[in-house]
């Protein structure tokens, strides 16, 4: 009994345990529900799963099911980011416990209410549990914003190398605070119109309405909501990586104001989509450019640091190009978290800008189904690349060392990039191949995409199994992690 209690305490009260549970649930949900579409469906796995588990797939409810599925996964990811933030950023212990426990109940209720509602008959009791879960997460977010309030004397920077105001208030903390506030507002930006106009019944996927010239308030707010929520999850992830890499110095001092202004302007831009759609796009471009510039400075700092440390390990102060690259990539986990941000520019930001610039000239001359592929691929890649960054960070927290660290890190980086590169070629294929001749391109890109995703999922499964086995050991890693704080991985605070 005591053994169970101590493990329960680890999994549901310690930061690393909470992150582990949330990642495991994300993995299980992705693997299980992923079998209902794509190649798994084609291979007949879908029908076996549907029959075995008694899943009720009403055709007219498909969009609603997907929306709930996205939300449950997103809530788990938001919980993971929250656990990281509450441990990385100074706050009172009672605040940390209250936020973590509230968001844990929240995302578990969202998952265990939402998924049965969506896939096993529309039980409104389950829907109530799902909504209660989302509400708890919102409440946890409000508590987080309160805990992050930056204008307290005790949270002023002690080390002047970190970005701060003239009076010493911590700009990184202000960035976290700003992101939490605009995230709460952006959550309402989806929830309120969704309830008011559709009462939750008129579900649609945003990518299906992009060509409608006169969009309803509901359509505009839902499109804005999904874009800003994904962007803010990515910005929060970037700020977490700033802490992980112990970002400081002059670049930190430039980057933090950019992250603050960028996230606020970007959010305001998406809220403006409803009343002033034309202007809103310009504001969104401005905000995202500013925020991305902040992320670029993190990448520069981080790569410089990795190269410097790598060379120092070999007793070198300066090295040639190849020594520099070798030093940069020697640790895939630390290199990967920022490399994936760079890669995001090729598969998400770059594609997005190209499509926006050439929309009328090229993409709106294609059938809608071809344009839709880009839209769907675009946000799936953004979401999953963000997830891989968090996963690489967690792998470091979980204590992966030696060859396992190298194999895991490089598997995630190489195969996720292979998958998303292939998906990008697939979604843009009409640029270089006509419909009648496309099948080999479709086959190759789908194959590479599937191989990439399968390897990443296998790497994740291996990590989870390793941690599961560890839980059966009396003095496993978990027994030390139960009291560990994430700050221990930040070199200087």
């Amino acid at each position: 009994m005591l053994a169970l209690k101590t493990r329960f305490n680890y999994l549901f009260t310690s930061t690393k345990g909470l992150i582990l549970v949330a990642i495991a649930l994300c993995a299980i949900i992705s693997a299980f529900f992923g079998s209902l579409s794509g190649p798994m469906a084609d291979l007949g796995v879908k029908s076996v799963i549907v029959k075995t588990f008694g899943i009720d797939l009403v055709e007219a409810e498909r969009e609603g099911r997907l929306i709930i599925l996205y939300h449950t996964i997103a809530m788990a990811v938001i919980a993971i980011e929250t656990y990281m933030i509450t441990d990385l950023i100074a706050m009172k212990e009672n605040q940390r416990v209250q936020i973590n426990s509230t968001i844990t109940f929240g995302y578990l209720a969202a998952i265990f209410g939402g998924l049965p509602f969506a896939y096993w008959g529309t039980s409104w009791i389950m829907h109530g549990i799902y909504i209660a879960g989302l509400t708890l997460i919102f409440f946890a977010g409000s508590s987080l914003a309160y805990a992050l309030w930056p204008w307290r004397e005790e949270y002023k920077v002690k080390n002047k190398e970190y970005a701060h105001t003239k009076t010493g208030f911590n700009l990184e903390r202000i960035a976290f605070f700003s992101v939490s506030i605009v995230t709460l507002a952006s959550a309402l930006f989806g929830a309120v119109p969704g309830s008011f106009y559709g009462n939750g019944f008129f579900t649609f996927l945003a990518e299906n309405v992009v060509r409608e010239p006169i969009k309803s308030t509901l359509q505009k707010s839902i499109i804005g909501h999904l874009h800003i929520m994904l962007a803010l999850i990515a910005i929060a992830c970037t700020l977490i990586i700033c802490r992980y890499m112990d970002f400081k110095g002059i670049l930190h001092k430039i980057a933090m104001p950019l992250m603050i202004v960028g996230s606020i302007v970007l959010s305001m831009g998406t809220w403006l989509v409803v009343p002033f759609e034309g202007v809103a796009h310009a504001v969104i471009y401005g905000g995202s450019t500013i925020a991305m510039l902040g992320a670029l400075l993190l990448v520069i700092f981080s790569w410089n640091k990795l190269i410097r440390e790598g060379l120092a390990e070999k007793g070198l102060k300066k090295g040639n190009f190849f020594q520099g690259v070798a030093a940069l990539v020697r640790d895939p986990l630390k290199f990967g978290v920022t490399w994936q941000m760079v890669f995001m520019n090729f598969t998400v930001s770059g594609v997005g800008i190209f499509v926006a610039v050439k929309l009328d000239e090229i993409f709106r001359n294609w059938p809608f189904m071809d344009e839709k592929l880009i839209l769907t691929g675009h946000w799936h890649i953004l979401a999953t690349l963000t997830a891989t960054i968090l996963l690489l960070y967690y792998a470091d927290l979980a204590g992966l060392k030696g060859k396992a660290r190298q194999w895991f890190g490089w598997s995630v980086i190489i195969f996720s990039d292979l998958a998303f590169g292939a998906v990008t070629v697939y979604e843009m294929k009409r640029l270089f191949i006509e419909e009648a001749y496309q099948q080999p391109v479709v086959n190759v890109t789908n194959l590479l995409g599937d191989i990439g995703l399968v390897v990443v999922l296998l790497a994740l499964a291996a990590l989870m199994v390793w941690r599961l086995i560890d839980l059966f050991k009396k003095n496993g890693r978990w027994s030390q992690e139960v009291h560990e704080k994430l700050e221990s991985y930040v070199e200087e605070k």
Binding site: E59, A60, R62, A436, V444
Partner: protein, 298 residues
């Protein structure tokens, strides 16, 4: 060394998947027994439209072609219409006059002024018609397949030549769903591989390692067995075939502030969920595709 061999094998495997596509690879010829010259009667009355089942009324009777317009039918039309001067050949295109749409300067709207517009491209190898400089004829292998590579202008001109018209989106939806229930597919609640020509149908006309999915003859999914390929009878409640899958079907609506035209029914290239009755595709009206066809109403 082992790793290198594995990499090389994977690379060769991927390269071999890139062999050139023979779009004119032979296809089997089947008589489906469904006459493309027949029409189905659709009585006036209420039906459920859209994903959310809005009660909708069409207060007139109309008839719809039981199948897509075939290559054979379109070739015959081209010969008649060319002779009448209804259409003409300009360069490598068959073109015809369209009186234009009212322009509202909507967001992303492009003006469609009066003028000649493409009906079909003559130089596209995927076109299943032959033209000897005098006469059009359907390629024998594809004669009873849906006419594809036809623009919205071409589809509309065909229907209007015979004093018919393209169906509106609502007319199409009622014809596909019937008036009794809220079924997602023309034949009922669920879909199997052999209900329709879709990307997973594994019908005798496709080769997913090469040219991919191709059209099936009109009315193919009628319960018959073709060389061991068993089909399910998948007509709509009014006895109309291929209302899901095979080719997307042009519809007639011209909406304010947009130049796009809408297509319904899904095609040979998409998954099940795109074959649901309420799903819409759209395109500029000049676009021609091996996955776009049409049928008429009167």
């Amino acid at each position: 060394m082992k790793k290198l061999t594995l990499l090389l094998i994977s690379f060769i495997f991927i390269l071999t998947a890139c062999k050139p596509v023979d779009i004119n690879a032979p296809a089997p010829v089947y008589d489906t027994g469904i006459d493309p010259n027949t029409w189905a009667f659709i009585p006036s009355g209420e039906f459920f439209s859209g994903q959310f089942n809005f009660e909708t009324k069409i207060d007139y009777d109309y008839e719809m072609m039981v199948t897509h317009v075939t290559n054979q039918q379109f070739a015959e039309y081209l010969n008649e219409a060319l002779k009448d001067g209804y259409i003409k050949i300009e360069g490598n295109e068959v073109v015809g006059y369209y009186p234009g749409d009212e322009f509202h300067d909507g967001r992303h709207e492009e003006e469609i002024p009066a003028g000649d517009y493409i009906h079909i491209p003559l130089d596209d190898p995927i076109l299943r018609l032959d033209y000897d400089g005098q006469t059009f004829s359907a390629q024998t292998m594809w004669a009873n397949h849906p006419m594809t590579m036809v623009s919205w202008f071409g589809a509309m001109a065909y229907c209007e030549f015979y004093d018919w018209r393209l169906p509106s989106e609502l007319e199409w939806e009622k014809a596909a769903r019937g008036s009794e229930d809220t079924r997602p597919y023309p034949w009922g609640e669920t879909i199997a591989r052999n209900n329709a020509n879709l990307i997973t149908s594994r019908d005798p006309f496709e080769d997913m390692s090469s040219f991919g999915s191709r059209t099936t003859p009109v009315g193919f999914y009628n319960g018959k067995t073709y060389d061991g390929y068993v089909t399910l009878d998948s007509s709509s409640p009014y006895g109309i075939y291929d209302m899901a899958g095979n080719v997307w079907e042009w519809t007639s609506n011209v909406y304010e502030e947009q130049h796009y035209r809408y297509l319904r029914g899904g095609s040979k290239d998409v998954y099940e969920n795109y074959l649901r009755i309420w799903v819409r595709n759209s395109s500029i009206p000049t676009y021609t595709s091996p996955a776009f066809g049409f049928r008429c109403v009167k």
